[in-house]
């Protein structure tokens, strides 16, 4: 009987061997496809934008550092996106100033301090928050938030940096909370027990042990939040006022890179210079997120090397 079994093992059917090979290749392809997609996206956006680089009306320095955006002007065409870039950065920065402390705080509360029942309720609610479509957020910004802002600050227009920042903060909160909570949950319980046994209070345990132990994950949570804020289009289009203008305060209206593309691409004739410049704005946006991700990667690696 023993011999029979070994024989069985040896005569493994051919289809099984090739099947395994095929699955291996399939998995390899799906892994590599991510890289292919990223490069393909970059390539096609850049191909649409490329012709404008040689146009007499276009100047790369002006494109990056001028705040004059007159793409449809008949006599004085200007393609300066600086105000848009500043718009994106100001709204994102404000959003992070609001969302990071709240998000990390909520993550700590959910994972360490609250009871089981409340925890479940909070998690479900936060997931619900993540499921609200961005256009609904924009609608809230346009109607409710803008009214509140004009009422409380006396600003002439309610759709401005403050409005967009708050809306974006609310939109990136769920990501920060849920990923931050996962990061804290991944810290082994033995750390908690050991620090508690040493006489630490819960807060001391969180501050001295959990936060250092979970800092990679928490950083990742924050960066994903930033990614969401930079990339968000519809909500900021509706909530920031859509004025091409370098803001001087929280109550100034701005326009972001994303909102600009969304609003103007439909009206720009295909293959026109305007159309191509909008694609170039897309390339710029792509570069910004790329730089953020790379920096994040380096920061995380730096932290890891220290450990």
């Amino acid at each position: 009987m023993n011999q029979g079994e070994t024989k069985k093992l040896k005569s493994r059917p051919l289809w099984s061997i090739y099947g395994e090979k095929a699955i291996e290749i399939l998995i390899k392809v799906s892994g590599i496809s991510a890289i292919i997609f990223v490069f393909a996206i970059f390539f096609f956006i850049f191909r649409e934008a490329f012709p404008v680089l040689s146009s007499p009306n276009f100047n790369l320095k002006e494109f990056l550092f001028s705040s004059q955006w007159y793409p449809t002007s008949a006599v004085n065409v200007r393609y300066g996106t600086f105000a848009l870039t500043i718009g994106t950065f100001s709204v994102t920065a404000l959003a992070m100033v609001i969302a990071v402390p709240f998000g990390i705080g909520a993550a700590i509360f959910i994972s360490e301090f609250c009871g089981k029942r409340l925890k479940e309720t909070l998690k479900i609610t936060i997931e619900l928050l993540a499921a609200i479509p961005s256009v609904v957020w924009g609608f809230i910004g346009l109607t409710i938030m803008s009214k509140l802002i004009t009422q409380f600050t006396g600003a002439p227009v309610g759709v401005n940096v403050l409005n967009g920042g708050i809306i974006l903060a609310l939109m990136s909160l769920p990501i920060i909370v849920s990923i931050g909570e996962d990061a804290l949950k991944a810290v082994p319980d033995t750390y908690r027990e050991a620090s508690i046994a040493l006489g630490a209070t819960r807060w001391q345990m969180v501050r001295r042990v959990l936060l250092p132990a979970a800092k990679n994950g928490l950083l990742a949570a924050v960066l994903l939040g930033i990614g969401r804020a930079v990339g968000e289009t519809m909500a900021v289009l509706m909530a920031t006022g859509h004025a091409v203008h370098i803001p001087h305060g929280l109550l100034d209206s701005v326009r972001t890179l994303t909102a600009n593309i969304a609003a103007e691409l439909g009206e720009a004739p295909e293959r026109s210079e305007h159309y191509q410049v909008l694609f170039l704005t897309g390339v710029l946006l792509f570069c910004i997120t790329f730089v953020i991700n790379i920096t994040a990667d380096f920061v995380i690696r730096g932290i890891k090397r220290k450990q």
């Binding site: 033995t190 050991a194 046994a197 040493l198 006489g199 630490a200 209070t201 450990q307």
Partner: protein, 253 residues
């Protein structure tokens, strides 16, 4: 024996969910003695330690009754758990190096208790690492991560950490599982030395370890005390219970 009673355990019962694991045990621990607790797995040794420093609170559905008094104060009813836990040093079987530097690991408890003077902390760290026989190996790299040390070094680090808040009671839960015999002997010698300053409860699977360093030994079996007596009795043929004799001599178990 005439010594002062440090810890007085009376009718301690512990159950997880509905399963009782400690069935009403009572015993005393005298000041400045080493009490060894031996017994097979599942006999409630670790649970007993958890009750003493109240980390049992963190296990859902654990229910404790009876009383544990340290210096007359009931542990199970105390309001200030944190100062209670500072009175007790705890060393777990597998070393738990907190993800901090070696220095910060040892300075953790004093800092939590509010010490921030650098000199004072330096002293505590050096002192405790020396006592745990680790100082010579790590004195040049106190800033590197505690979790990067080898298993045995990490265990000594946790012992240094347990000593860092100069506890009255030191509980060791099978501390020698992850360390080599030579280091084990070093630590055993250290325990004998610091006995004059604190009371030590040593949970161990190694009967010979209990024999080497304990003053008295308690034999736990399925959540009940089979016998507790001085080592001269436990490790002789005069044990009151035949089971103890057989367990200690390695005839069964």
């Amino acid at each position: 024996m005439g010594a002062k009673v440090k810890i007085e355990v009376r009718n301690l019962r512990l159950s997880y969910e509905h399963k009782e694991v400690i069935h009403g045990i009572s015993f005393d621990v005298y000041e400045n003695e080493i009490l060894a607790v031996i017994g097979p797995a599942q006999s409630g040794k670790t649970s007993l330690l958890r009750c003493i420093n109240r980390t049992i609170d963190f296990i859902p559905n654990a229910f404790v009754s009876g009383s544990i008094k340290i210096d007359g104060e009931d542990v199970l009813k105390t309001k200030d758990v944190y100062s209670l836990r500072r009175k007790i040093g705890m060393v777990s079987p597998l070393p738990v190096g907190l993800p901090l530097s070696i220095y910060d690991n040892v300075a953790f408890a004093p800092r939590c208790a509010g010490v921030s003077n650098k000199n004072e902390l330096d002293n505590v760290v050096e002192n405790c690492l020396k006592r745990a026989a680790l100082w010579d190996e790590v004195k040049d790299r106190l800033d590197s991560l505690g979790t990067k040390l080898s298993g045995g070094q990490q265990q000594r680090l946790t012992i240094a950490r347990a000593l860092s808040h100069s506890p009255d009671v030191l509980c060791l839960d099978e501390f020698s599982i992850a360390i080599d015999p030579v280091t084990t002997m070093k630590i055993e010698d250290m325990l004998k030395e610091i006995r004059s300053q604190m009371t030590i409860i040593l949970v161990t699977n190694l009967v010979q370890q209990a024999r080497r360093i304990a003053d008295r030994t308690m034999f736990l079996w399925n959540g009940e005390i089979v016998e507790i007596d001085s080592n001269e009795v436990i490790f002789s043929e005069r044990t009151k219970n035949k089971k103890t004799y057989e367990y200690v001599q390695g005839i069964f178990g």
